[in-house]
Point group: C2
Chain length 737, copies 2
């Protein structure tokens, strides 16, 4: 754990500048509005280690990969969210000296991300080498109200003398992804223009051909425009002024952004310029208050209030805040990247995280259309999933959804994951089930979702095989959710969810046939469906092999698990944790240690199919061996622990998931935040401590109040009714709106 931030219920606060943690701060203080987003790099020049990143939703590049040269079926590229034109740069000189926090003395530094309003600000005193001291105040936001607009206020007040101030406001498209396999630049310049501080840079991505325009416009106080300059993919304007001691000079920078997901290529420049000009016309304060108001509305429905534990409170709000910054559900071409707009690791693409972890959050805090958009995203990519399966030798419309994707094509490139971590297919079916159960809206599955289910069911039916030796169906060569095991046989979770998919698809198809026989017949003809496929599925459902412990309660993670040396993770020396940063891969694989919930993930998804005794036995067996080196792990353990009454474990796991990045448990916050697991944090309050379950089309709540907390409160949107839930010492209180 690395703790340098202040605990506060509504704010993330860095007091005193921590250059050694600056790259983590850049992640943690990130801002965004679902359409674009940015790491919290300084506006002014900064010569210390940093990762400047501005990202535009849906704009990606297929970065060539070169692995597995003698193995077939690997994708040729990894789709990456692109580091795009940097728009926040405002380089400052004071009496000719560059303002650079890495080289000058800084006092009274405070950086604040106000989560209630979505405003990022800094305030500090810069001690220039000349002896001059200046107070610097900066503020910026990416508007939640005008989704193509961002704004910056940059103010300088000389404290102990007059100053010649110069601010160079820049749009710089000469950026590289930090994570570029061949150190390539992914962009080509299209045009740049600048005229008295009104400028624009237009770039186009290589290969994918996305055109992105970023424009700027300015307003000044105590400064005046001096000059413009431009070069390839870069424009800047200089604003200068001679400023008296005690007087504040301010630059307001208005940024407009547009891209070809929403406009024609020859219009993006003009549109971006208009966005910036309109923003300037509206004025900084007015833009700012519309933005804050939009955030207030989000919190109105989405907030979770925890009384009595500010760290827990800050944690959950931090998670909810970033989830809202990352995805708004307005566009079915977008999805939820594991790092959102906060970093480049994992490429910013879509993983099974969306279906397994994110859907419940968006379902319960937004209109159900938002979750439906996420389901549509996969339906739109069904053809690609069928192609993906065909590349691996599957036929007759079997669909394998990719491990990682932007446009539906597989991008991942480790065989043990790409080809074998196929349980992801189950999560995509599960999300359809989950949505249908929660919303009561059967229209999606019967109109559209059944096609996805059919493709997935066909995949599983071909992926299992009959073992003459066991006289059962088995599934070989898979990687379960616990990626610390590769290429295993009969991963219990995968066998279970595969069988469940077959059952559920069968049910759906039977209901479909019964209710809409003609539409059904047409649909089945389209997909060449033969009803004897159902009989094959039934046979598999009946004869599937599930590895079990002799005790009859514990499900074995995979064949041979009991041959391992079984020990508790707590018995490992702390110098060897996390093991993925200390052990070689083979050692990790041979060990019993579990990266993230695997058998327990199945018990969480399908809780109603197991007795409390079974859940307890498996939790007691697996929890001690789980190292939680995936961000997606603690939330599931927290929910199960709460159910089993293991309060201490539930709280420990909750704190870990909710403050994973704030406290940087895994020493990786600098790479970006764990956005998708933040939805898991939300679940660990609502389903864990709140005990929310769906029973017979009703929500039930069974609250557990952690002993340090006075109460916690959340709101749930369920079938058009808002439920307010408060859990306190007196119990669980539910009211409706």
């Amino acid at each position: 754990m690395i703790q340098y931030l202040k605990t506060d219920p509504w704010k993330v606060i860095e007091e005193g500048f921590h250059p050694q943690h600056h790259q983590s701060s850049e992640s943690i203080f990130s801002i965004g509005n679902g359409k674009f987003g940015q790491r919290a790099s300084h506006e002014e020049m900064y010569s210390g280690p940093h990762l400047k990143g501005s990202y535009v939703a849906g704009v990606y590049y297929p970065d060539k990969t070169r692995v597995g040269w003698w193995k077939n079926g690997y994708p040729e590229y990894f789709a990456k969210v692109l580091n795009a034109t940097a728009w926040h740069n405002i380089h400052v000189t004071i009496n000719g000296e560059e303002l650079d926090l890495y080289t000058i003395e800084v006092t009274d530094f405070v950086r604040v991300l106000d989560m209630r309003t979505g405003i990022l600000s800094r305030s500090f005193v810069a001690h220039m080498k000349s002896g001059l001291q200046c107070k610097i105040e900066t503020e910026r936001f990416i508007s939640m109200h005008e989704e193509s607009v961002a704004a910056i206020r940059f103010a300088i007040t000389p404290i102990n003398g007059d100053a010649d101030i110069s601010m160079k406001s820049i749009l710089d498209g000469n950026v590289k992804n930090h994570d570029a396999n061949y150190d390539e630049i992914f962009w080509e310049p299209v045009s740049e223009q600048i005229n008295s501080g009104e400028g624009c840079v237009v770039n186009i991505t290589k290969k994918t051909g996305f055109t992105v325009a970023v424009a700027m416009n300015h307003q000044v106080d105590q400064l005046q425009w001096q000059s413009d300059s431009s070069k390839s993919s870069y424009v800047s304007s200089d604003f200068v002024g001679h400023v008296q001691k005690g007087t504040t000079s301010t630059l307001y920078k208005f940024v407009g952004i547009e891209n070809t997901l929403y406009a024609a290529a020859d219009e993006v420049g003009v549109k971006a310029m208009n966005h910036a000009a309109n923003a300037k016309k509206e004025g900084y304060e007015s833009l700012r208050s519309a933005h804050c108001k939009a955030w207030m509305e989000i919190w109105e429905m989405g907030d979770i209030v925890i009384e009595g534990d500010d760290a827990a409170q800050q944690g959950i709000r931090f998670n909810i805040f970033h989830l809202n910054q990352t995805y708004t559900g307005k566009d079915a071409r977008l999805n939820i990247g594991p790092k959102g707009f906060t970093g480049e690791k994992y490429g910013g693409s879509t993983y099974w995280d969306t279906e397994a972890y994110c859907i419940p959050f968006y379902m319960a805090t937004k209109n159900q259309e938002v979750a439906r958009q996420l389901l549509k995203y996969r339906h739109n990519q069904l053809d690609r999933a069928i192609e993906n399966a065909a590349k691996l030798g599957f036929k007759d419309g079997a669909a394998l959804y990719p491990m990682v994707t932007m446009n539906g094509e597989e991008c991942h490139n480790e065989w043990e994951i790409t080809f074998e971590e196929i349980h992801r297919n189950g999560a995509i079916a599960y999300a359809i089930y989950n949505y249908t159960q929660y919303t009561g809206d059967t229209s999606y599955v019967l109109e559209t979702g059944w096609e996805v289910l059919l493709g997935i069911a066909r995949f599983w039916a071909q992926r299992v095989h009959w073992s003459e030796h066991k006289k059962m169906f088995v599934m070989h060569g898979v990687t379960g959710p616990n990626e610390y095991e590769n290429n295993v046989n009969n991963n219990w979770y995968t066998n279970f969810i595969a069988t469940w998919c077959l059952k559920y698809t069968k049910e759906v198809l039977m209901a479909f046939k019964k209710d809409h026989p003609e539409v059904y017949a047409k649909g089945m003809a389209k997909w060449n469906f033969r009803e004897d496929e159902l009989q094959e599925w039934s046979l598999i459902i009946e004869k599937m092999y599930f590895p079990k412990h002799e005790d009859g309660l514990v499900y074995l993670q995979q064949d041979g698990f009991l041959d391992k040396v079984l020990m508790a993770a707590s018995d490992l020396p702390s110098s060897e944790r996390p093991i993925n940063q200390h052990w070689s891969w083979d050692r990790i694989l041979r060990s019993c240690f579990i990266k993230q919930a695997d058998v327990l993930q199945g018990l969480y998804f399908f809780e109603d199919q197991f007795t409390a005794e079974q859940i307890k036995a498996n939790f007691d067996f697996y929890e001690p061996m789980t190292v939680h080196e995936s961000s997606l792990s603690p939330c599931v353990h927290s929910i199960l622990a709460a159910k089993l009454g293991y309060e201490e474990k539930a709280v420990e796991m909750y704190m870990r998931t909710s403050r994973l990045d704030l406290d940087d448990y895994n020493h990786e916050a600098h790479e970006g935040l764990h956005i998708t697991s933040m939805a898991g944090t939300w679940m660990s309050i609502v389903q864990g401590f709140g005990g929310m379950r769906l029973e017979n089309d009703q929500l039930v709540f069974n609250g557990m109040l952690p002993k340090n907390w006075q109460s916690f409160t959340f709101r749930i949107l369920f079938r058009n009714v808002i439920h307010s839930v408060k859990v306190d010492a007196q119990g669980t209180h539910v009211s409706h709106h």
Copy 2:
């Protein structure tokens, strides 16, 4: 199979130029002398697809790799034999028109590699666009007598008119490896000089700092020197002449080569120049006949004569020829790259092939010092093997030899091989055993080899673990010789050879202690050896788990093998073969198909520990599932088939191994030849059809004559006695010299 070459007992012959197979020809017609070597690219300019490659033994580059970015322990580079200064280029114009076999008409083309003399030659008629026809005759060799010298003769005779001939003789150091991960040039220029056709190019490798000088010198007939030119890392000299119809103009190019493995950096240029000048002084014919004589001497001892089957005869000579071109045993820093000097795939580094396949050939056809050099190579790298094991978490002097290496450091970068294909360690111990048994020379193992054995034994003792569930020692997470299974538990071969290593090391240490108690005590102190380690080893030997079939005869390749769908490879459609070019990796892994001998490799190595019934049962079980997509597979199957009296299978496998490249079974000859498996071909004659075994310090022979053969004859050097073995219809005849 691709067959375009003529069958001949002593020659490889291409009649008619086959541009579509030219890259395969470049591999197949390669020449070398153990110190340097070259693909058979044309001397003149060639605009068609080709891979020009000149390689210098022991000169390598650590090419940066980028895989497994979230897994620890991967090496940072892959050591590659370097494509070095091209010295054979002689660009030709005839009446101003470039001679380029890809664009002009060519008739009467014959390319011949005379394996008896090691001479590569071409003869053809070039039909220039002007209508002029010229007869072209070229010849080149890399001297087996003067190991730093090569020579080329290039002759042109205009047939139907006079011609202005120009020959530009070039040394070109601006070469790239075809196989460069980041398209980097691995060399930096040091110097170049040229003066009236006497020139030199000196380059230094980046990072590793090997300096290589290549020099040239010339003699002409009917031509005269015209001019020189040079640029960075490149020199050339032009020779011109006006030649009458029917008159032959000839350029003799003498090449000298030197590098910093054998000379100081500031001397390599002068030395290379001297080599070339001395060669010129000696004269082409004299050099040529010394070279041919050296080859005659090699064949005197090393030839295998097969009467009655020219294809079989050509095959075995092709194999013996290339083995001799690749490694001569003069330098313990060198080893046998899987492609020798014939291509870049696999990087040209050292694999377990050397110990498992090559040692017997060199032991029986060369002085025993040659095999001992190969053993020393590993002993010299023991420290690196200990470092390599330490990176994977092993301690106390445990040694894991690398999967691929140049200097002892691991270079391989696929986790399932790098970290898991650890059976290679066993082969290194086996080679010491094999050498000691065959030569009767116990001095190596007692003076030096025991240190290697101790490191290897310690590795195995730590790599197994006790299964509380099985109450046996097991070994998890390995890849056996059959690389079409990854990360399996209890690979029978690996478990077996690990246990054997413990037994053998124990025996050796006990013998050492008995015979040389003082030296033993000193040695053990050096390695902190505790005799209770022996007790641990004994426990493992006693309690090791070996997966077995219920029939009691078949050893299971690994846990769970019987759960697979078992079928014969012959039932696969031929359109899907080889499976590694048609199936995705997961499908290969799930299948029963075996890339190369695995259980059978163990039965081959340790034949005397198994009954004929056991060997037969395992061969009958595994042979049908073996797809032989490794070059190292058919030889083992051929030997076992011969032992079991399966003549047809033995011959099929022999033809496959001996003509693997000549007939291009796996469609990959263009990447280079399978040098190390060629030693397996030799074994399949000597140990297979010849039935050679070592029994009680005596060689015994038990010949089987394939029915199309009239006889076969080979010579074996055994403990200073040469045995001539002839197998014919009358039986097996052995005579001594």
